[in-house]
Symmetry: C2
Subunit: 198 residues, 2 copies
C-alpha cells in the first residue's frame, strides 16, 4: 500500500546502485579477476547484460567502485587520523565491516590489467596527497608514499595472505607499533588512541 516512492519495478538508478554494491563486495572478497560478471549480476539480482549497458565493461565498473568507496574514507577523516583510521578499518576487515573495503579490493587485484593498476594508483594518489600534509620535509611526498606502502603491505599480509602472527594480532598492538615508527617519517601523525579507556 501507499507507494509514495514510485517503487518502480524498472528503475535504472536502483539497478546501477545494486550493481555497484554487489561489485564492491565481490571485488573486496575475491579481487578483480576472480569476481566474475555473472557473480556480480547474480548478487545484485540483475541480468548481467545490464552491467555492460550501465558500465560498459568490467574494468570500468571496477574503476567506479574504487573511486566511490575510496572517497568516503578520505572525506570523513582528518589527515592526522587517516592512517590510524584506514589501518583499523583494514584490521577489522575479516568480520562484516560496514565501512570502506576498497583497499581490500585493490589488494586482491594487483595481478590485473593495466587499467586496474591505474584505478589503484588514482586511489593511492588521493591517500598520499592527504598524508603528505603531515610533514614539512622536502621529501614529504616520498615519506607519504612509504607510509601508504606500509598500510597496504600490512593489509596484504594480514587479510590476503593470512600471515601469522600478524593475522591474529591485536589491532591496538599493531597500531601502537606502526604509528610509533611511522611518526619517524610523518611528524604530524596523531598518537594512537589509547586502547579502551573511558
Amino acid at each position: 500500500m501507499a507507494e509514495i516512492q514510485p517503487k518502480r519495478t524498472r528503475d535504472a538508478q536502483a539497478t546501477r546502485r545494486a550493481l555497484l554494491d554487489a561489485a564492491a563486495s565481490l571485488f573486496a572478497e575475491r579481487g578483480f579477476e576472480r569476481a566474475t560478471v555473472r557473480d556480480i549480476a547474480a548478487r545484485a539480482g540483475v541480468n548481467q547484460a545490464l552491467l555492460f549497458r550501465y558500465f560498459g565493461s568490467k574494468k570500468a565498473l571496477f574503476g567506479e567502485v574504487l573511486a566511490r568507496n575510496g572517497r568516503e574514507q578520505l572525506e570523513t577523516t582528518a589527515p592526522e587520523g587517516l592512517l590510524e583510521a584506514a589501518l583499523r578499518g583494514m584490521l577489522l576487515s575479516d568480520d562484516a565491516r560496514r565501512g570502506d573495503r576498497s583497499l581490500d579490493a585493490f589488494l586482491r587485484s594487483t595481478g590485473g590489467s593495466d587499467e586496474v593498476a591505474t584505478a589503484g594508483r588514482l586511489l593511492g594518489d588521493e591517500y598520499a596527497r592527504v598524508l603528505a600534509t603531515l610533514s614539512n620535509q622536502d621529501d614529504k611526498g616520498l615519506r607519504a608514499d612509504l607510509v601508504l606502502s606500509w598500510l597496504l603491505g600490512i593489509g596484504l599480509m594480514r587479510v590476503v595472505v593470512g600471515k601469522e602472527p600478524l593475522a591474529s594480532a591485536d589491532p591496538d598492538e599493531i597500531c601502537g607499533l606502526v604509528l610509533g615508527a611511522a611518526r619517524t617519517l610523518l611528524e604530524g601523525l596523531a598518537a594512537p588512541v589509547p586502547p579502551s579507556s573511558s
Copy 2:
C-alpha cells in the same frame, strides 16, 4: 668418451631447469594468472606438454619457483642485512636484475588461488623467521611481520603500481628512511650502507 657431460640432445634435467627459469622470469613480470603455460613453455623453448609432465600443474610449478628463488636470498645474506638487501633488490627490479625476483612474482600474484597464497605464505614465513632474530621483545614475531609487510608494500607500490614519487625515488634515500623507522621495531637491524663512498 666423456660421459661426464653427455651433451644430450634430449635431457630431462636441462628441460626442467629451462622451464623453471622461464617460469621464474614470467611470473615475476606478469604474476601467476597472466603468465600462461604457453608463454612459459615458449620462453623455455620447450613443448608445453612437458611442463605438465615434469611439474604436474601450473600451481605446482609456481610453488617450486618461489621455493627455489626465495631460498637463495635467505641463504646468502646475514639476518641484520636481510631487510636492506631485499629492499635494494626490489628497488632495482625495473632493470635487468640478476638476483632473486621471487618477491616480484609473489606481489603480482596476490589475486590467485589459495595454493598461490599458500606458496607466498611459506616464503614470507622464512623471511619473517630470520627477521625475528633481530629483536628480543616478546612480540618479535609481530614486529618482524610488520617489517616484512613494509618491504612488500613498498614493492607493491613501486614496481607493481608505479606510484610516484616512490617509483622514481633514489634507492639510497628510501633505504635511509625505511631502515631508520624500522629500527624502531627491530633494534638489531644494521644501519644503511652510506651512499656511494669510495
